[in-house]
């Protein structure tokens, strides 16, 4: 009795840690459905956002009115586990037929032949890339072939709590603010509200929401021609701006953000400002203080520059789906105007389909959400990615964000991160 349990325990370690095999075959071209009545079969659709699940179910319902013989089951995993799960499914050739993809993971999946191209659908004019912002089409294009149908998009803007600004007798942010105004307001907010445990700038020091926009606004870059931009002096100035905000006690440290998510702080009325994306709208609407918030464009860099990254989820199709016709039909439907309007009206996400964003803006009129649309049209740059983005994203977390507010100046940290990142980029295949 005793010894077998020990052996079981030993092998359990191995079981839990066992790797998976399987090789990838060739990517099949997505096929185009002809007569809707002939399209039959079962599909799995994988997503990661529980807030968007009801809207996705509505889309499936609308799809079934046209294609009654296709049964779509939605599979939800939390974002933290989503890509781990997909990679495991991919190595055993069991990817869901259609699933959400994001920028940092796209090239990894596409270059490993896990995704089907849109050649068939685009050729038959059933998906038209001209319907989506070009930056998003580009994000999901590898070696001249597009693989993803853009689903939604997000840019970054400045959220603030009107009531906290009024309490502190500080003038509310405007579209003309610069980083200096941002910091000056933070100093006043901290003096007035700090003793109540309220943060001036409750930023999460995230790459997409905080330091990518700052670096780009200041004329720096994240990645260019396969080289890291963290050693660039303009990038370093932007990083130093955030580091100083942390050092002054206006912005929580990475450790404090690890304990309490920054957006939770803001929506609990414990922070007066934050840079964040339009994906937080549904969370904002659930806050007890939901009517205190508003949005303005990001503050400008000292040189007058203002940039945000634009990122969006895309719907993609597995290269090895057992039911390519049904999957292609569903993918085309997801990329269409009807699906975009369902998402927008539900306030689930800002749809990528051009001209359908108004409904999203109107889903929360008090927040001035058109700021995000204007940001996309006027001063957005593509989200920085490479073939294996996750590897250097980890460097950003471990080496860069952790150093914000520390004793080492960014002129020292930045180049160190750049060296490591270049090394990681060199290993990409």
């Amino acid at each position: 009795m005793r010894i077998p349990s020990v052996l079981a325990g030993l092998t359990l370690a191995a079981l839990a840690l066992a790797g998976c095999g399987g090789n990838s075959g060739g990517a099949g071209d997505a096929k185009v459905p002809d007569d809707p009545a002939k399209v039959k079969g079962d599909l799995t659709y994988a997503i990661w956002d529980v807030n968007q699940q009801p809207a996705m179910q509505q889309i499936v319902k609308a799809f079934n009115q046209k294609y009654p013989d296709v049964k779509v089951s939605i599979s939800l995993a939390t974002f933290d586990q989503y890509f781990t799960k997909l990679k495991t499914q991919g190595s055993s050739n069991n990817l869901p037929d259609v699933f959400w993809m994001n920028g940092p993971n796209f090239q990894l999946f596409a270059s490993n032949k896990q995704l089907a191209t849109l050649d068939g659908l685009i050729g038959a004019k059933q998906v038209d890339p001209a319907n989506y912002p070009k930056a998003l089409d580009d994000l999901y294009t590898l070696d001249g072939k597009q693989y993803g149908v853009p689903k939604d998009y997000d840019t970054i803007a400045l959220w603030y709590n009107k009531k906290l600004f009024a309490d502190a007798k500080v003038a509310a942010p405007t579209a003309d603010w610069t980083w200096n105004d941002y910091k000056a307001a933070a100093v006043k907010l901290k003096a007035a509200l700090g003793s109540k445990g309220i943060w001036a700038s409750g930023d999460n020091l995230g790459n997409q929401s905080d330091f990518y926009p700052a670096m780009l606004s200041n004329g720096g870059y994240v990645i260019k021609d396969g080289k890291s931009g963290y050693g660039d002096p303009k990038s370093i100035e932007a990083l130093q701006f955030w580091s100083d905000m942390v050092k002054g006690g206006y912005t929580p440290t990475a450790a404090q953000n690890a304990e309490t998510k920054s957006q939770d702080r803001f929506f609990d009325g414990k922070a007066a400002m934050m840079w964040n994306g339009n994906w937080v709208v549904s969370a904002a609407l659930k806050s007890p203080y939901k009517n205190d918030f508003s949005v303005v464009p990001l503050p400008k860099a000292p040189n007058g520059g203002r940039k945000t990254v634009i990122h969006g989820i895309a719907n993609v199709m597995s290269a090895k789906t057992k039911n390519p016709e049904a999957a292609a039909a569903f993918l085309a439907f997801l990329g269409g105007k009807d699906a975009a309007l369902i998402q927008a009206k539900a306030g689930a996400a800002n749809p990528a389909y051009t001209g359908t964003q108004t409904d999203f803006v109107n889903s929360a009129p008090q927040y001035n959400l058109k700021t995000y649309i204007e940001a996309a049209e006027q001063y957005s740059e593509p989200y920085p990615v490479s073939k294996d983005t996750g590897v250097w994203n980890q460097l950003e977390t471990d080496d860069l964000i952790a150093a914000f507010g520390g004793t080492k100046p960014m002129s020292e940290v930045g180049p160190q991160v750049a060296t490591k990142m270049d090394e990681a980029l060199g290993k990409e295949k």
Binding site: A14, A18, G90, S91, N112, T260
Partner: protein, 290 residues
């Protein structure tokens, strides 16, 4: 065997197939993978011992070994604590023994991740109830889950707390096996409660204690879920508190180096195997099966 014919094998076959497919084959596959460079979706190329040389030169591995050992050592303290509780709970005539047993056992049946998330809130440095409580006594509590050593100890204390229930059940069963006459005889001879505990209870519990120490050590080396859920994967403290299994996870699913991850897995297997062997050798000196 020859006189039993083939039937025993037929009966064993279903279980054996399960073991073969789910235990032995993955073991062999992992061993093979550890000598390859394997991408996120498979596609292995043989690289010899390259992964193992990388392992030896990786300072994170040493840190992870130390962290795992510290964690396991703290969780092992749960055994003596459980021995004490078990003998208190099994005192004849204790009122509400079942209630206590249930309370102690509850953490063991709850999901580790769910428990970790609750403790994450308790440990929170700014708003957590633990620091609020310390504040009543004028102590300014640390940020439990973001300071390197505090974070590791926080994870270990949680592990210890969760282990008590299981330990208690095993030890209670062990206590039931000790004949009551021994205690009667001892008290006739004038031995007090504490001497009975030292001379009868503990020696006769040694088989259970040994079993628990082996199981706890193995479980300790598999530390992952509490660490992941309590501290969170993006916690800046993680590089300093990660366990061996976390290192495996990081290599396999974040770094997309499956071959290296397999080498880490083989290392864990080897360390656990050696420790278990060592414990079995050592048991002759202190475990009594009389």
């Amino acid at each position: 065997m020859s006189k039993d014919g083939k039937w025993p094998w037929v009966f064993v076959l279903p279980t054996f197939l399960g073991v073969l497919v789910f235990y032995l084959w993955p073991l062999v596959k992992t061993l093979y993978d550890s000598f390859t460079e394997t991408g996120p979706f498979g596609g292995a190329t043989w690289v010899g011992i390259a992964n193992y040389s990388q392992l030896v030169g990786d300072s994170q591995v040493y840190r992870a070994v130390v962290n795992t050992v510290v964690y396991t050592a703290i969780v092992l303290l749960g055994i003596p604590i459980a021995v004490l509780f078990a003998s208190l709970l099994n005192r004849p005539g204790l009122k509400g023994a079942m209630v206590y047993r249930t309370l102690f056992f509850l953490p063991y049946v709850a999901m580790p991740t769910a428990i970790s998330l609750v403790w994450r809130i308790i440990y929170n440095g700014e708003y957590g109830v633990l620091n609020q409580a310390l504040g009543v006594f004028g102590i300014d509590g640390p940020s439990w889950i973001t300071e390197p050593w505090f974070a590791l100890i926080a994870v270990a204390l949680l592990g210890l707390w969760m282990s008590i229930g299981f330990n208690l059940i095993v030890l209670s069963a062990g206590l039931k096996g000790i004949p009551g006459e021994l205690y009667e005889a001892a008290s006739l001879d004038g031995a007090g409660r504490s001497q009975q505990f030292r001379s009868i209870t503990v020696p006769l519990l040694t088989p259970s204690i040994f079993f628990l120490s082996v199981i706890t050590t193995i479980a300790g080396f598999q530390l992952f879920d509490q660490l992941f859920a309590l501290l969170g994967p993006t916690n800046p403290v993680m590089p300093k508190t990660q366990s061996l299994v976390f290192l495996f996870y990081d290599a396999a699913f974040v770094g997309n180096e499956r071959g290296y991850a397999a080498a880490v897995a083989v290392l864990i297997l080897a360390v656990v195997g050696l420790l278990t062997l060592f414990q079995f050798r050592l048991q002759r000196r202190w475990v009594s099966y009389d």
